[in-house]
């Protein structure tokens, strides 16, 4: 799934936020995926790929200087030394001037709130702190494209939000292209204004995230809790795709937006409802349904 949006600060530059939700394309040796191919080291099984005008599988040095990769599950920084020493090495690799290096380290360190941890051995940092250091390392050379691979995996909710907010602000400020891979829907909601869904190697959807959420119809997701078990065979539930909870004392329904008021009144007057909540159909559920029923997607 790929979301594409124009950068506000650089209108001519596309910002790609790519999200892979269910299928690990790169896990197959025979079928290197879009993500891996773009990451500049996997040769495409067919066709060709261009990143910033370069052929990534040939790994031109100029391209490598303009991209960065952050992996949530793998540290690129050296475990046994302080992060700052790793930054110094990366500074040499990316040929960053002394002045730029100093300025970027100070700015990013203060934005991410890790300035005081630069000289602590990486192995002594928490997962969240390590991830922030990883982000710093990947941004030191001001890449044009950043590949984020599960950047929030394993982090607590506060750290997750900090990382999302950071990238959202960073993208708005610098217009950097970000390709994100994440299994967390919250990442998509926070970072992907536009989505491209690729299924079976074909683009099946390309549009704003709000349109994607309504791809299955203008339905609301309604949760109800009852004071006592209710009869699931009642005809009222028939068209509402109910998902029953334990002992039939709770249910989740999908109700057409236009019918929401009328159906809700009927349910509330017939059943002992003690809690009622409504929200748009979660993107996770939309995606799950579409992956199970690809025919629902427009051709």
């Amino acid at each position: 799934m790929t979301s594409v949006t124009d950068s506000p600060s650089h209108p001519s530059q596309a910002t790609i936020v790519c999200n892979q939700l269910c299928k690990n394309y790169t896990s197959s040796k025979k079928e290197p995926g879009l993500r891996g191919t773009l990451k500049a080291f996997v040769a495409p099984s067919s066709g060709d790929t261009r990143v910033l005008g370069y052929e990534p599988s040939k790994r031109p040095r100029d391209l490598r200087k303009r991209i960065a990769l952050v992996m949530g599950q793998k540290s690129q920084l050296w475990w046994d030394i302080p992060a700052f020493d790793s930054f110094q090495l990366l500074r040499r690799y990316y040929e960053i001037s002394d002045r730029d290096f100093k300025e970027r380290v100070e700015t990013l360190g203060s934005l991410l709130g890790v300035s005081s941890l630069f000289h602590v051995h990486l192995r002594k940092l928490s997962l969240g702190e390590r991830m922030k250091m990883e982000l710093m390392a990947c941004l030191l050379h001001k890449p044009d494209i950043i590949f984020l691979d599960e950047p929030t995996i394993g982090l607590d909710v506060i750290a997750q939000k900090q990382i999302r907010d950071f990238f959202s602000n960073y993208q708005k400020t610098f217009g950097t292209t970000i390709i994100l891979t994440s299994h967390y829907m919250a990442d998509i909601d926070a970072l992907c204004p536009r989505i491209v869904l690729v299924l079976g190697g074909r683009k099946r959807f390309d549009g704003p995230i709000r349109e994607f959420e309504r791809i299955l119809g203008k339905e609301k997701f309604v949760s109800l809790v009852f004071s006592e078990p209710v009869d699931p065979s009642d005809p009222i539930w028939r068209e509402l795709r109910p998902q029953w909870g334990p002992l039939n004392q709770s249910v989740e329904l999908e109700i057409e937006e236009a019918d929401l008021r009328e159906v809700s009144i009927r349910i509330l007057s017939h059943f002992p409802v003690v809690d009622y909540s409504t929200e748009k159909l979660p993107i996770e559920r939309v995606l799950k349904t579409l992956l199970a029923n690809p025919h629902l997607l427009p051709e």
Partner: protein, 268 residues
Amino acid sequence: MLSNELKKWTKTISMALSRTMTYKLDFFLTLTLPPLVFVLVSYAIWAQIFDRHHLQSVGGFTRDEMLRYQCWTFIATLLARSHRSWNLSEDIRFGRITAFLLYPFSVWSAYTAEFIAFQVVQLFIVALTLSVMIGSGLVPAVSIDTLLAGVCVCLAVGFLWFTFEFVFGSIAFWIDESWILRLVFFFLTTTLSGGFIPIELFPQWLQVALQYTPFPLLTSIPVHIFMGTQRDTLLLILTQVIVWISVMALCAQCVWHRGLRQYTAAGM
């Protein structure tokens, strides 16, 4: 441009040095204990063989020469077979080379820079070990010329072994678990290089065949240089090493580029 490249190399080397020295004791023990135990066992076995059977010589080696051979094998192994690229297979298998594939500094350069750092540390360890060995009378003192020639050949052979392991480590692009293969490769090369017993004890046909391979260069020849029993000139030996390094470096490049086409960066 050249200056930037040089800075990348020197920084990688200095970083590798700091990382190597982070766990000083662990590093020192890992590096010295296995070959030290091996050499002590070999030393004891050969001493017993000579003493029990009252042998004057075995394969042209007297008792003292054989025991010295074992000690010099330890020194040569420390310098010439450092196993710095031993982990390449694991790095490929677990996708750890991914980051380096994206840095504007090649994987080969990074590994080589780390190898150089490692050899610097090894030189200090060898100097220390040799002082102890000479001081305790395990090996007789050697002339500076002999020592320099031996160390020089060992360092060149170290780089040859590094390229060997790099090529062999690259099989991880095709085979998921190559640990046992690498172990077999290690024992085979150690045996054929004279690391366990001197090549002079092998059958004649095998000794002749080995002359056309790089194996004797890995242990036997450096040991004979230290012992002052090497017949070939230093120039000839170094030429052989350089030729084999060129061949293996070429192989490494070919295998690496072919392997990269298979690479899927597992675990991303």
